[in-house]
Structures are given as structure tokens and as C-alpha cells.
Amino acid sequence: MRFRLEKRPAPSQLLLALTPLFAVLATMIAGGVMFWSLGADPLEAIRTIFWDPLFDETFSAYSRPQLLVKAGPLILIAIGLALGFKAGIWNIGAEGQYIIGAVVGAGVGLAFYPTENRLIFPAMVLAGAFGGWAWAMIPAILKTRFGTNEILVSLMLVYVAENILASVSSGLLRNPDGMGFPGSRNLARDYPAASNLEIFAGSGMHWGVVAAFIAVIFAYVLMTRHKMGFSIRLAGEAPKAARFAGISPTRLVLFSLGTAGALAGMAGLFEVAGPAGQISIDFNSGYGFTAIIVAFLGRLHPIGILLAGLLMALTYIGGELAQLMLGMPAAAIQLFQGMLLFFLLAMDVFANYRIRIRSREVA
């Protein structure tokens, strides 16, 4: 017996549209088996992850706002990443750009402490975007000047960024009133001019969520109406045709890595000034990597990313709930999220290819 993948001449559009749904279903099934093997009731585990955070009377008051809090940075980062992915430029280092954005943005805010001025928070947002942009420019410029691989460089810079984070939280940005503990002043609690609080109480909606929605609209218009979006799609689908059309690969790399970096940096700033509150050694929580899953789960389409970000946020919150209520290990939840990407990619293969089984021929 031998399996062979055969490209479908015309993949069904319906099938392609439904693959994310199938992927979610398959994840539920495989995840259920995993939870069962860990000694939990699979149905209860699935319900705890997907249903309780939104509708359970006890938890939803806390966890419903968390949906937007978690989805905001995921969507913001994924929108930026998707621009590059569409053009075939693989920025894997959004986590690093997120960290540097947070550090630079928070640094600007802390430099003004304790001045109260309306302009401080906007300045921090700009500084955060600049930090992420500058961090993304490193792989971008290395790629365009020396032809280095942006996957490797952007990924390695994540670890550099983590070390910078550790260094500033116990050095440059350490809270002078913190009795020597690492970590900056708490912006959300102690510095109103620099805080990114909920716009409507109990909604989870902070400025980062607003920025994410704006980014979705911006990306949608860019991809459908603007020449830059056309260039991005063309470069991804037919690189030679893109060169013929006069699209400069250098410009595309700088634009897509720069935009992704700026958005990730902003996401970092919104996080540090709001939900996280302070720069600390363990400030980053993997949004930059999870956003890669979100981008693909959303088929690199702005609206798809919006929905995928909300779904992924739900698995985060539900996952925490499952850890709390069912005693699942954190690794099981990460595995569960990984399954989602795995199944999505697998379903994609089946939508585009069909399996042929052939008995081995005698040579």
C-alpha cells in the first residue's frame, strides 16, 4: 500500500471556506481524547473551554471581558503578520517586537512620571509602535541588504528581546520605590496619564481593542482597494509576475515587516499599560507566537483574523478555567491550541489535494 497526494484540479470553494470549522471540530475531538486520557470528562472539558467562559453564571462576569482583553493583542499582531505572510515574507518574531514595543513605550511613559498630561499616553503608543517597528527593521534590513533569512533572524531576535526585557526590569526601568524587586512602576495602577484602562467598565474594551478593530478595517481596505495590498497578493501568488509588474521586493519586505512590527509593538504597549500594568521579567505571554496561529486560522483575511482572534482568546480563557476547575496542566492547554493549527493545516491539504491509495507495483 502506498499513499499519494494528488492535487485537486479545482478545489471546492465551499470546502475551503469550511476547513476552519472542520479544524475546530477535529481539535475538539482530539482534544477530548487528550483530556480523557488525563482523567477528565472530555465533554466537560470542552464545555469548560468553549462554553463556560461566556455563559456560565459564576465565571462569565470575570471571563467575558477577558475575551476582548486577550483577543485585542492577538488580532492586532495577526493582522500585521498576515500582510507579510500573504506576500511570502515570514516574520516569526512578533513576540520580540511585542516586547520591545512594550519596553520602549513604557520607558517613554515612565520618563515623564509623575507628570499628568493628556499627550503622554498617545506618545507612549507612538513610541511602542516605533519600538516594534525598529525591532522588525533588523531582520528586514538584513534581508534586503544581505539576503539573510527573515525567519531565523526574526525568531532569534525574540530571545534577544527577552533578555533585554529581563535586563530593564531589574535595571533601567526598575521601580525605584519597589524595594529592590524587579519590575517597573505599575502604569495601570499608579500613573493615570499612562494607563490604558477599560473604556466601558466591565466590557474588557481598552484602547488596544479599539486599535485592533481599526487595524482590521485598515487591512481590509488595504488588501482590497490599495495598490500596496495588490502588490502584496501578487508577490505572494506569482513572484515573477510581481517583478514584471515593477513591484520592488525591498519595499514589500520593509513595508510588511515594518507594519507587523509596529502593530506588535503597539499591542505590547497597550498590554503593559493596561492588563499587565508593568514591565516585568515574565511580561510576555506568547501572544506573538499565538498570533501566527490566529493569522492562519483566519486564512490571512482581516475578517477571518478577527473571528479567529476571538476564538483563540476563548481557548486561552477557557484553558485557564480548565486548569483551575479540572486541574489540567498548562501544557495540555498549549497542546490543545497547537492541535488547532495542526488540524487547520491538515484540513487545508485535504481541501487542495486528495489521497490516492495504490497497491505497490512490481518494479
Binding site: E237, G246, E361
Partner: protein
């Protein structure tokens, strides 16, 4: 009919929306060179794939050597004695000739024995080939020999050749024909597919003409004129490109001393290319594939920069300008590869119209695309150039080769270029579409543009060009007026004079020895 090598009876194959073969019946006699003629989309490929076991027919049967023949796959077809040389070579550049041949065989013998038999076969049929050379260093003609020798090693009874001469110089064509005639005289039947009617008249004894999947005629091509054959294929009277000998005007494009290194390991460097094209003139650039055609087009279109001082448009140095800046000045181009280079396969015709039309047709406003205008532009290309498609929203990849080519060429011509460079304008395009494209190029020159046609089809170049030159290993031959050139002279230009010199020296050395 009973002694025929291969008899096809009522072969039918339908795909959704199109009947590719409709009750096709004909027979191939042993030792016969049989031509299969037809426009693109007439069903030639499907028919050949059926014989070679790549396609299963819906109805009908084949008899091969007196026995029912229904190959399940190419391996079964090869085992029965059917071999095929495809239009596109399937060779690995980095491997040697012998290694490539072994890869294509079902039961390759040992390397040493294989090399010996390659030498035997290639000598016996006048196809000189060194088994140890790396394929990446071979010319297109030599690569084709690799494919042919691979087939001959299997001792086929029927050899199928799909458009074999499109990459050959006239001299190489003569060598190929010599080989094919020798094979036929030994009893091997040959099924020969080509668009080049003169070749078919010179080589084939019998011809089957397909139109829209049906056999519309069988004839002896030697008794017909090329025009009669073409009209059988098309089903209507064929429009032959017409031209009026216009006065040529000022020099529009001047290339002087253009040299560029090869873009990749298997590319060709451009060496000191110098020529000029005038308004109203059609300059033909011949040459065997892989001698710098793609590289020249890239340098002219702006995909690669030319050194300063080597490329002038109306006296202005444009060598360092990007493609869109050159388009704005009136220098437009259409590359050879339709899918993936001239057009993006998965994008709609509207999007593909935007691909090169943005600057001159003003399809965007401050970066925002005017989709309505782009669609109108795509529609006018479709209407003006008779592109058969449901509409501008169709993906480019869904069009047939000829229709997409009409779109790609039409897209540039409708933008009224001052200088238009086109590589292989009618490659793989059926006769009526090719005639339409050639006429459009002539009309463009008539209207005062300078047209550069890079092509491997000499008949085409002789039809439409005022001046002729050829590329050989990235060098360009001195430009000659096209009228009065003999096919031998053309062949020498394509082969490059230095080649001839070496050959002469070798011949003399041999004579002296």
C-alpha cells in the same frame, strides 16, 4: 487496415463542459511518419495522452500490433512499445546525460553498460551525445537528443513526438528529420505533432487533422499546400498577416554595449549587445532557447537594471529605471512565460490588467485602485483581441494558452507603446490566434511604434520582420534586412559564427590526420 500498427476506433473523452475527443478513429501503419494536426484545444494532447496511458477514454478502443490495447499507465504503454518525447523536457540540469536517461527508464542497466548503449544508439542515429556531460551545459537541441535517445533505448514500435522542433535551429531540424526518417525506414512508426506545416509537408506521409475533438480530414500532406492544411485545421479561410512596407523613422530604442552577468547558474550572460530599432520597424531576434532571450527581455523591461549608458529610449538613458518608469516613457514588454510571469494565474483578468496597465491607463488614484476602470480596461482588451472567456472576472489560469496570450499581448498593445518588446508571441498558440497576434504586431509598427519580436519560430520572424538578428550565447549577430536572407544564413547567425569556425578547424584537422 488489419496490418496497421495502431488502430484507434471511436475514441471519446469528455471533460466537464468540453468533449476533447469525439469518436476519433484513424490508423498508423508500421514505418510511417504520421502527422497529427490541429489547433490548440483541438484534442491532440488528450488523444496522445490516451495512447500513452495518461488518460482513460470514456469510449472506443485501440488495437496495437494486432492486440487490444488499453494501457493503464505510461509504464504499460512503454512496455507495449510506445515511447513519447514531450514538448517540455523533464531533465535535471545538475545530473549527467547518462544519469538523466537512467532516471527515465523502467529498468535501467548498470551505468557503464548504459553509457555504452547510449553511445551506440546516438551514433547509429546520428545524434551525437556524450553520456558523461552535465545536462545543464547542453543546448536545447542536445537536451532533446537526450530525450530521444532515452526513448530509443526502449526499442519502441511507436514514437510520439510533441512539437519537437520548436527549440531547434534549422540545421538541428535537418539532423532530427534525418534521424526520424532512418527510424521510419527501420519500421518504427512515428506520430508527429506540430504546428509547423512546412515541416509536416517535408516529413510526413500521412496526416490526420483534428478540429474540436473530431477528425475532420485525413490527407497526404505532401500533396497539400501549407495554406490548405492550415485551413483544414481552422475550418475557415486563414487570414495571412499583411503588411505595407512603411518608411521607418527615428531611432526609438538604442542598445549599446549592453552586458549583464548571468542571473543564476543556468542562466546566460548578455555580452556586449548593440542594436537600434526605429519607429515603424519590426526587428526580429531569432535564436535557440536559452541563448539569452529571457535575460534580454528582463533587461529591456526593467526587471533587471542595465548598466548606465547602455540603454536609451529616444535618447534618454533608461537603464537604471524601474519597469513602471519605463512604461511611463512608452517602453512596454511581454515576457515569454504567460503563466506566472506575464500574468498571475490565480488572479482575475481585471487584476492582471492592472498588473501592467496601472501607469499608462491611470488605473489608480493616489495608490487606491480604480477597479471599475481596471475592469473596463480588461474588457476592452478582451473585446478588441477576441479573447474567449466568460468575462474579466475569470482567473487568468483558466484561459487556454492562445487566449491568454492574446490577452497578454493585447494588454500591452492597447496601451499604445512607443517601443514594444515581446518574447515568443505565438508560442503554443493555435494558427488563427497566431495570425491575429502577428497582425496586431504589424499594425502596431504601422502606427509608428518600434517592435522587437524575440522568437524561436523562424517562419514567424520571416513573415513579420523588417530586420533580423539572432542571439547566440548572449551575443547578438549583426543586423541584416530580413528580405533576401536565406535559411542557411539564418542558421549560421543562430549558431554563432565562432561555432562555425571551430567546426571548420576541426574538420580541417580531421582531413589532415
Amino acid at each position: 487496415m488489419t496490418d496497421a500498427l495502431l488502430t484507434l476506433e471511436g475514441l471519446t473523452k469528455a471533460y466537464p463542459g468540453v468533449v476533447a475527443n469525439d469518436a476519433v478513429s484513424f490508423a498508423i501503419q508500421p514505418g510511417e511518419v504520421h502527422a497529427l494536426l490541429g489547433e490548440n484545444g483541438a484534442g491532440k494532447s488528450t488523444l496522445v495522452k490516451t495512447i500513452y496511458g495518461l488518460v482513460k477514454p470514456d469510449a472506443g478502443q485501440m488495437v496495437f500490433g494486432g492486440r487490444p490495447f488499453a494501457p493503464a499507465n505510461p509504464r504499460a504503454a512503454r512496455a507495449a512499445g510506445v515511447a513519447m518525447v514531450f514538448q517540455h523536457f523533464s531533465l535535471f540540469d545538475a545530473l549527467s546525460v547518462a544519469e538523466n536517461i537512467a532516471l527515465g527508464m523502467d529498468n535501467p542497466p548498470g551505468q557503464r553498460q548504459l553509457s555504452a548503449s547510449i553511445r551506440d544508439v546516438s551514433e547509429a542515429y546520428g545524434l551525437p551525445l556524450d553520456p558523461d556531460r552535465v545536462v545543464g551545459d547542453l543546448s536545447a537541441g542536445e537536451r532533446q537528443r537526450v530525450e530521444i535517445v532515452r526513448c530509443l533505448l526502449q526499442n519502441p514500435k511507436l514514437l510520439i513526438m510533441d512539437e519537437p522542433t520548436s527549440v531547434l535551429t534549422p540545421q538541428e531540424v535537418q539532423i532530427l528529420f534525418h534521424t526520424l526518417r532512418k527510424l521510419a525506414s527501420e519500421g518504427t512508426s512515428i506520430l508527429y505533432i506540430s504546428h509547423k506545416l512546412e515541416e509536416i509537408r517535408a516529413l510526413c506521409e500521412d496526416a490526420t487533422v483534428l478540429r474540436l475533438g473530431k477528425v475532420v480530414a485525413t490527407c497526404d500532406p505532401r500533396e497539400k499546400t501549407a495554406r490548405e492544411l492550415a485551413e483544414m485545421m481552422v475550418g475557415t479561410t486563414l487570414h495571412v498577416p499583411e503588411r505595407e512596407g512603411g518608411e521607418s523613422g527615428d531611432v526609438l530604442l538604442q542598445v549599446s554595449g549592453l552586458s549583464l552577468p548571468a542571473p543564476s547558474d543556468f542562466g546566460t550572460p548578455l555580452r556586449d549587445i548593440t542594436f537600434a530599432v526605429r519607429a515603424g520597424e519590426v526587428l526580429g531576434i531569432g535564436g535557440v532557447a536559452g541563448n539569452g532571450q529571457d535575460e534580454l527581455l528582463d533587461a529591456l523591461s526593467g526587471e533587471r537594471f542595465a548598466p548606465a549608458g547602455s540603454l536609451f529610449l529616444r535618447g534618454q538613458d533608461v537603464g537604471r529605471l524601474r519597469p513602471n518608469a519605463r512604461r511611463a516613457l512608452g517602453l512596454l514588454a511581454a515576457p515569454e512565460e504567460r503563466l506566472g510571469h506575464a500574468a498571475a494565474p490565480e488572479m482575475s483578468l481585471t487584476e492582471n490588467a492592472l498588473l501592467t496597465g496601472d501607469v499608462r491607463q491611470k488605473l489608480s488614484n493616489r495608490g487606491f485602485i480604480r477597479w471599475g476602470k481596471a475592469r473596463d480596461f480588461a474588457k476592452s482588451v478582451i473585446d478588441t483581441f477576441d479573447v474567449r472567456t466568460p468575462g474579466p472576472e475569470t482567473a487568468a489560469g483558466a484561459l487556454s494558452g492562445g487566449n491568454l496570450q492574446k490577452f497578454v499581448i493585447g494588454r500591452e498593445i492597447l496601451q499604445k507603446p512607443d517601443v514594444f518588446v515581446v518574447n515568443q508571441p505565438t508560442w503554443g498558440v493555435d494558427a488563427s490566434a497566431a495570425a491575429a497576434i502577428r497582425q496586431a504586431l504589424l499594425d502596431l509598427a504601422q502606427s509608428g511604434a518600434a517592435v522587437i519580436v524575440i522568437s524561436q519560430d523562424l517562419d514567424e520572424l520571416m513573415d513579420i520582420c523588417d530586420h533580423f538578428t539572432a542571439l547566440n550565447e548572449g551575443r547578438i549577430a549583426p543586423i541584416r534586412p530580413a528580405s533576401g536572407l536565406t535559411i542557411d544564413e539564418v542558421g549560421l547567425m543562430m549558431g554563432g559564427a565562432h561555432d562555425m569556425h571551430e567546426a571548420e578547424t576541426a574538420a580541417r584537422a580531421e582531413a589532415e590526420a
